[in-house]
């Protein structure tokens, strides 16, 4: 019995992914197809980038729930800058990333300096960001030819989102006659994952972040500047969310009100599913990636089975609870 339990703790997530894949293969017609797999990866890519950000905050034993707000604000800001104010796409993108850096600094100010518990501080930030998202356009969606909400005579906005920018979300690379190509968001995700992996597992800063998360007092007494590492983790978290926001804006080709709202819970679920992969007992990059893809496969398969939309949330809830159950069970065993 104990053996079986250990086995499930170690391989449970991988097993669940395998079972899902096999099930969807036989239950649906379009699932077992390279293009569909790439679609799943593309659909998971934005989530994965956000989840990797959350992973950084969890590595330093914190928690960042403001990520969904950052994604939404960046989507709105970047598209509005281009459509309403004719800002070149690269400056709009830079502005989006800057929003991430500032949001991260703000979060760490609340958490490190004011010592507000991370969950509550970033919850407050989440509301703030969501409100700011709406304020940019007075609550309107951003699209080509929209009415400029800031114009006194309600003139049409004349800017547009250029193709270069849209490529980030909609393009394909390495296309050939027989192959549609790899979606660009998937490449972005892969690049972020590899960089995050290198940073966390192979550099001194990553090592120090794990030390800060594992035992802050021991890290401090070993001479590590604990607060600086915590600050860095929140800045990275929010900046990756900002990057995800840019990809999402390019994918949508417009600024949708409420964009990014779903990513928070999905990203948390992915991170904690990642805890459980191979009984890692700690947040880790490939666990998070697998967790995000797992959530992606689940959603894709459910859609193909023509499940009603509300089933998705119920299933996601169950998955999150199961993942948390497993990772906390592992933690207890470690004690």
């Amino acid at each position: 019995m104990k053996r079986l339990g250990d086995f499930l703790l170690r391989y449970g997530v991988l097993l669940a992914v395998a079972v899902l894949v096999v099930y969807f293969k036989y239950a649906t017609t379009a699932f077992w197809d390279l293009d569909n797999f790439l679609d799943i990866l593309r659909a998971s890519s934005i989530l994965t980038i956000v989840a990797l950000g959350v992973t950084f905050s969890v590595v330093v034993n914190g928690f960042d729930v403001s990520v969904g707000g950052v994604v939404g604000l960046v989507v709105m800001l970047a598209t509005a800058l281009m459509v309403i104010w004719h800002v070149p796409w690269y400056l709009a993108a830079l502005a989006g990333l800057a929003v991430g850096v500032v949001a991260g600094l703000f979060n760490s100010f609340l958490i490190v300096k004011l010592k507000i518990p991370d969950l509550l501080a970033t919850l407050g930030a989440l509301y703030l960001l969501q409100g700011m998202q709406l304020a940019i356009t007075k609550g309107d969606a951003v699209y080509k030819g929209m009415t400029n909400p800031w114009s006194p005579d309600r003139a049409q906005a004349t800017g547009e989102i250029p193709g270069v920018f849209l490529y980030l979300g909609q393009g394909y690379a390495f296309a050939s006659e027989t192959f549609r190509g790899i979606p660009v968001p998937v490449l972005v995700m892969a690049a972020v994952a590899v960089l995050a992996w290198f940073f966390l597992d192979f550099t001194r800063w990553g090592r120090a972040m794990y030390a800060v998360g594992g035992n802050p007092e021991a890290a401090r007494l070993a001479g590590l500047p604990v607060n600086r590492y915590r600050t860095a983790a929140y800045v990275i978290s929010a900046t990756l969310s900002a990057l995800a926001g840019l990809v999402l804006a390019a994918r949508l080709g417009s600024g949708t009100v409420g964009a990014g709202r779903d990513y928070l819970l999905d990203a948390v679920a992915a991170t904690f599913v990642g805890f459980a992969v191979l009984a890692a007992r700690r947040p880790n990059v490939w666990g998070t990636v697998l967790g995000a893809v797992f959530v992606g496969i689940l959603l894709n398969g459910l859609t193909m089975l023509n499940m009603p939309f509300y089933i998705q949330d119920i299933v996601k809830g169950l998955v999150l609870i199961a993942a948390l159950g497993i990772s906390y069970a592992i933690r207890r065993e470690g004690e």
């Binding site: 940073f199 550099t203 794990y210 594992g214 007092e217 401090r220 007494l221 001479g223």
Partner: protein
Amino acid sequence: MAAGLVAKGLGKRFPGVVALRGVDLTLLPGEVHALVGANGAGKSTLIKILSGYYPTYEGEVWVDGRPVRLVRPDLAFQNGIEVVHQEVDTALVPTLSVAENLFLERIAEGRLGGVLTPGRLLAEAGRALDELGFDLDPGARVEALSLHQKQLLVIARALLRDLRYLILDEPTAALSQLEAEHLFALVERLKEEGVGVLYISHRLAEVERLADRVTVLRAGEKVAAFERPFDLAKVVEAMLGAPAGALFPEKTPVPGAVRLLARGLARPPRVRGVDLSLRVGEVVGLTGLAGAGKTELLRLLFGADRPRAGEVVLEGRPVRFQSPTDAVRAGVYLVPEERRREGLLLDKPVRENLSLPFLEAFARALGWLDRRAERAHAEEVIRRVGLHPPDPEREVRLLSGGNQQKVVVGRWLGGRPRVLLFDEATQGVDVGAKKEIYRLVRAAAREAAVLFATSEVDEALGVADRVLVMRDGRVVAELPGDPSRRQEALALATGARA
């Protein structure tokens, strides 16, 4: 059988350790009975048994002639026994008022009725406190109270439910002189009212003043009992036991230049103005009771806390460490008191624990960590400290206590220390590991100035070349590191001699 709290043959075993064995103890109504012993003598275990903390224990207890099994905390209350722990906070709800805490059990049992208006609660609490003669504001929130006020509150609550046997565990450890006087007066009063008080303290001056009888524990056993009038020197002798054998390495001090100097270093209430100077090539001991301010002094030297007054001079230059980061950069290292909580990453391999403060030295371009260099460093340190098993990839939580401590010590030895501060470095490790740690401490003195803090005077005298004795935040004496001065050292530390 007559009145009194009588324990016969009390004992408690833990896996691999006998914490207490065959202890007889009688606490009579209207007496103050002092319980003394060095760290690890078994005082806490004895108190915990009497407070109903353990579901099982050996031996028997009678309360006023009735046999009782104190296997749950409420059984202790019901028999009129109350323990005031050193960390008195654990017995109180900090966010509630004095009045609410005072009546906590009655509220829980519904004995005050279902509807509790704050006015009525305050009035009743005020009346009760007046009757007891306790000066506490019933409306104050407990978290705003001083430690002494919290003690009073716990005692008051016990008095409200027929207190007959009061156990005070190191009650004056964190009190001011004035508060301590107030507490002594209260103890005298309770005694006159027929309460039996078991008074646990390291401070022999208090014991002499208050106690009618003294029981001495050592290594889990009762080794002596004295009736008033007692000779404090004999009490000290009983606490110490026979001198340990060849536990300590040979000393070959070659004192060089002054490495670290502190003048008037203070952070009240725990550190109240300390001067010291450490030379390279020597080990300086720092001893004193738990709570004397040793740990706090080391934290000031290490930059973990900031001094309110005074200065630190490192190799002739004044330094002002803002954080341990600065201290580590300057080569001033601390082996902290609680290695598991403050020293180690338990889930990480030995290699990562050893390199933690010096990651920069192993980093190449882009911050990439050179694991081979890191591993080679770990292997060298492991050889040097004699870690067992000598495996750099073993997770630290799987090592024994002594080997965990060798990891913490080895971490700093591997980093060219200028000044090494040790805080209770042999706590909770077996004799074999102690010997090796002493050897490492002596070896470290060849290149660094070493300050070795320990509450065991034998250890301080055995390892160090000279020993500073601390009491109540001050260095009260300096002795040569001569094991035959143990009685003098303990007398100075306990305040039995000024």
